[in-house]
């Protein structure tokens, strides 16, 4: 092409004008370039990537991860295929760890409040640590409380040591804690550690209230097994979900059995009664369980006596219980297993419920069965662990705070202002605390009240270990290592404690300079065992390999048999709901949101934007209402209702008319309604924790979070729910079903 200078200049001029014009209407320059089909951008992948193995621990979950890193930036979270718990898979919360690192609202430097109630000032770490040491040094250690989310591994050890050495009261906080479950397991099996459930090889899985595919304990781990349970090597398993709410697990179940909220234990007891009286199942276990009393000891739980309380009337109730008992005790489907938790343990009779449910396992030999498919105990461990304290303890601490008995409160991801029922008036109690120190990376409600913030790093930036609880059935230690340099001027909580400890002269109790040193010491002890998945002659070699694999596990280190004789519950069989039926006609069955949980993940955009599996709502809090109930109350999809409890506290949220919600139940997910926190979470949805009656499980004192009655009041307002589902309730066309189903006879 004869490109003369003149034409070239003309073209150049034209392009220049084009660029100006296009820029004027925000059309970027690259818009004007046109792609040749020969080398498509899809064909071009450049750059080198690295993967770092690490682990993300939740209150009861443990996911081994590989972090893809390019040029010092974390790009993608992938499951660690070697790690026993998740075996290469991961859930959406793990994915969103990346967003915690690069979160726009992350607190990136230590902050100190200029004056009480005033604005924050950025300070450096030496100053921050010095400040904290001064506060602690000046304070009466017995009037210092250190609250954290449940932690395990080296961090738990360091925290425990710090608290012990300094003399502070260390207390765990989790809005939805597992106290009742732990107590029940302890009671029924005499085990301190939570057992693993071998779902993959289970034949008949009877689950009470435990939404194990979505939020309960370690869903990724369970879902991994569930996939095998459905379409693995053996026969397809059969899943019965006993639940007062239609959870994702109920959706996946072959059979969803609705029971009156709180009557799960009654059903289990009744099934035990049937199994024992009809001589099904393991007779010796039956004898042991009833203390030799046999069926007569359980007469009060005969189906005819309790069916109405479980199913709310209906002639076929007793028959259903018998059938469930027969199926459970039979082995048409293979090994049976009963699990329970979630809402089943969240009533005043939660301990009764869970004890009864887990007792069922004794009758079908589901404890460490030789062919797998039952409960697998985890070896006991002396390792430190900070578990969530029950409500009873927290009530006391809040009272102490209110009455001025707490001078310093240190919180680390323990958002008590948000997570404790509003009727405890935590906000007012916090006002009476002299100094609040927060180690959180995000400005949650409690952190917003802090005087000093020492922002922690995210799991991808810090050292640590995890001892999964529940574990996979054998000793497992995961290593957490920084996949990237700290993004922002943050310091891991453990390192902050170590440094503060040095300032305070607690060096003897905290013999490590950094968390890395602490982790290396753990590694050293593992290396010295000479067993397990990583064995290397030298420690450095062991260290490198263990970090590469993401941890160390010893498949031969398994637990012994159950150490306690089988026991039946004695506690009350009735859930004792707060509120009278007249004024508060609905059972409030709240639940951990699939994504944002009980609010801990609300600041992560991906998690917020992940639609709830059942309603497909994202970013919002909604109220599940049965269609008939909605008609009776003249409620339509998207109408805003006021949900009020006997505490006098209310929330407002839009209605999702949910065909699966039982008529007398309304359900609301936890996790919304943050006042503070990040721009992502704040002023979005409603916090149903706030309206809960602070009822306790009578035995453990844990919050009976499903034990509140409520009433619904229609308002004139409407708010389109942000959901993925279209405007119409998605029901397939009858002639043109796109989801095909294979029907099999049982």
């Amino acid at each position: 092409m004869g490109l003369t200078r003149r034409r070239f200049l003309q073209w150049a001029g034209a392009t220049g004008i084009g660029a100006v014009v296009f820029n004027g209407c925000r059309v970027p320059d690259h818009e004007i370039q046109v792609q040749s089909p020969v080398r498509l951008p899809e064909d071009l992948v450049t750059g080198r990537d690295n993967y770092y193995a690490t682990v993300a621990q939740g209150p009861a979950s443990s996911e081994g991860l590989l972090i893809r890193v390019m040029e010092g930036r974390a790009k993608k979270v992938e499951g660690n295929p070697d790690y026993p718990m998740n075996q290469g898979k991961h859930g959406l919360r793990a994915e969103a760890l990346l967003q915690a690192v690069y979160h726009p609202d992350r607190i990136k430097t230590p902050l100190r409040r200029v004056a009480k109630g005033g604005p924050f000032r950025r300070i450096g770490w030496p100053e921050a640590i010095g400040e904290l040491a001064k506060i602690l040094g000046d304070a009466d250690a017995s009037r210092v409380v250190l609250a954290t989310a449940p932690i395990r591994g080296v961090l738990a050890d360091v925290t425990q040591r710090f608290a012990d050495a300094y003399g502070a009261r260390l207390v765990g906080f989790d809005p939805i804690d597992q106290t009742v479950l732990r107590a029940a397991i302890k009671r029924v099996f005499g085990q301190d550690a939570l057992p693993d459930f071998d779902i993959a090889r289970t034949g008949y899985l009877l689950s009470f209230g435990s939404d194990f595919l979505s939020t309960w304990l370690d869903p990724t781990h369970f879902a991994r097994g569930y996939g095998e349970f459905r379409q693995g090597e053996g026969e397809r398993g059969y899943l019965v979900q006993v639940d007062s709410r239609f959870s994702p697990t109920a959706a996946a179940a072959d059979q969803w059995v609705y029971v009156t909220p709180g009557s799960e234990g009654l059903l289990a007891m009744s099934m035990i009664q049937v199994i024992v009286s009809e001589g099904l199942g393991d007779r010796s276990a039956a004898d042991a369980l009833t203390g030799g009393g046999g069926a007569s000891a359980l007469a009060a739980f005969a189906p005819e006596a309790v069916a109405a309380r479980i199913f709310g009337g209906g002639a076929d109730g007793p028959g259903r219980i018998r059938q469930m008992a027969t199926e459970f005790a039979g082995n048409d489907h293979g090994q049976s297993l009963a699990i329970g938790g979630g809402s089943a343990g969240a009533y005043a009779n939660g301990s009764f419920n869970l004890t009864a449910i887990y007792a069922l396992n004794h009758l079908v030999g589901a404890v460490n069965p030789p062919n797998g498919g039952g409960l697998v105990f985890n070896p006991a461990s002396e390792a430190a662990r900070v578990s969530a304290a029950p409500l009873r303890e927290w009530k006391q601490i809040v009272n102490d705070m209110r009455s001025g008995k707490v001078d310093v409160l240190m919180v680390r991801d323990a958002n008590i202002d948000y997570g404790l029922p509003s009727s405890l008036d935590v906000r007012e109690a916090l006002g009476a605390v002299n100094t609040i120190v927060s180690f959180s990376s995000f400005l949650d409600e409690t952190t917003a009240l802090a005087d000093l913030i020492l922002p922690g790093s995210t799991p991808l930036e810090e050292w640590g270990t995890d001892l999964p609880d529940p574990g996979p059935g054998y000793t497992t230690v995961a290593f957490q290592q920084p996949a990237i340099n700290r993004f922002g001027d943050t310091l891991s909580f453990g390192d902050a404690l170590l440094q503060t400890g040095r300032e305070l002269g607690l060096g003897d109790a905290l013999p490590w300079d950094t968390m890395r040193d602490a982790v290396r010491e753990t590694a050293r002890t593992l290396h010295e065992t000479g067993r397990g998945s990583v064995t290397q002659p030298t420690f450095e070699e062991f260290w490198r390999r263990a970090l590469e694999r993401g941890g160390w596990w010893d498949m031969d280190a398994r637990a012994g048999a159950a150490s306690a004789p089988p026991q039946l519950p004695t506690a009350p069989a009735s859930p004792e709901l707060a509120g009278d039926e007249q004024n508060y006609p609905f059972f409030l069955v709240p639940y951990e949101a699939h994504g944002i949980g009980a609010g801990q993940f609300a600041h992560l955009p991906w998690v917020q934007s992940a639609p709830d599996p059942i309603t497909t709502v994202a970013w919002a809090t909604w109220v599940d209402v049965n269609p008939t109930t909605a008609r009776e109350l003249d409620l339509k999809q998207d109408d805003i209702v006021i949900v009020g409890s006997p505490t006098g506290h209310v929330i407002r949220a839009a209605v999702y008319v949910n065909p699966a919600t039982p008529p007398r139940v309304v359900s609301v997910p936890f996790g919304g309604g943050h006042e503070h926190s990040t721009g992502v979470a704040a002023k979005r949805g409603a916090n149903v924790l706030g309206i809960l009656e602070p009822t306790e499980d009578t035995e453990t004192g844990a919050l009976a979070w499903a034990g509140t009655r409520v009433r619904l009041t229609k308002t004139r307002d409407r708010a389109g729910l942000p959901k993925l589902e279209g405007k119409e309730l998605a029901v397939q066309l009858k002639d043109q079903e796109i989801i095909q189903v294979q029907h099999v006879r049982r």
């Binding site: 089909p37 020969v38 790009k75 959406l92 879902a223 239609f246 639609p611 942000p722 998605a730």
Partner: protein, 242 residues
């Protein structure tokens, strides 16, 4: 002048060229959304703000449709993970005026963002609603841009996008020219899926899991009667009756 890219409608006649396919086992899927977010992270999909849901402009290359059946107490909710079916007879391809979407020799329905002018015709003609349009310029808070995957183009407003079967991973895995063992190469969604409901692989490799599963007796393809010849095979959900 560059050689003309000749779009072939049918992927891979020859057995040496891989033919990428996926199997979705509906009996395993629990609707957990792990795949959705994994895809979001891998493929630089803009964050679906609340407004995107209100506007019904959510961009998810794989989405979980949930269908209700019945009402309490005889109620079922069925999950259907839908992603681009990489149709071998793709209705979206022939309607695009600029070859912005075409079929490559590995059976992939490729979307070339740079060529797309945003007529949205392909979206109308995709029976699976797999195509998603960038109504707004995608934006990320500055810090979050650190996470973007450099292997994947960030789309501008005004273009169509859709699941690519994570072509960037395919390219990375195969750029050396050596064969990829079955299971070593996984798109982000299948990799995450906790229940392994999603299985990806080379259907020209008879030993691959995907090749076996796609002939399972539970097999079906969504809207098979349309003749789009999808590369995604579904396995029926199992209902135990009575």
């Amino acid at each position: 002048m560059a050689t003309q890219a000749k779009p072939s409608t049918h992927g891979a006649g020859d057995r040496d060229t891989p033919k990428w396919e996926m199997v979705v086992d509906l009996d395993r899927c629990t609707g957990c959304q792990a795949c959705v977010i994994a895809c979001q992270a891998e493929n630089n999909i803009p964050i679906n703000e609340e407004s995107a849901f209100h506007e019904a402009r959510v961009i998810q290359w794989i989405r979980i449709e949930r269908y209700w059946e019945g009402e309490f107490p005889d109620v079922k909710a069925r999950f259907l993970p839908l992603l681009c079916q990489q149709c071998d007879n793709a209705p979206c391809e022939s309607v695009c005026p600029v070859y912005a979407t075409y079929h490559n020799n590995e059976g992939l329905n490729v979307q070339v963002y740079n060529r797309c002018v945003g007529t949205r015709y392909c979206g109308n003609n995709c029976p699976y609603h797999a195509r998603l349009f960038n109504y707004w310029e995608p934006t990320w808070p500055e810090d979050l841009r650190n996470q973007l995957n450099p292997d994947v183009t960030v789309r501008t407003r005004g273009v169509m996008e859709k699941c690519t079967f994570c072509i960037q991973r395919i390219r990375r895995a195969t750029r050396g020219g050596e064969a990829v063992a079955d299971g070593d190469l996984q798109p982000a969604c299948a990799q995450a899926c906790p229940t392994s409901a999603l299985v990806f692989g080379n259907a020209n490799d008879a030993g691959a899991r995907v090749s076996k599963l796609k002939n399972d007796k539970r097999r079906f393809r969504v809207m098979e009667e349309l003749g789009t010849d999808p590369s995604v095979t579904y396995l029926k959900q199992v209902d135990t009756d009575g």
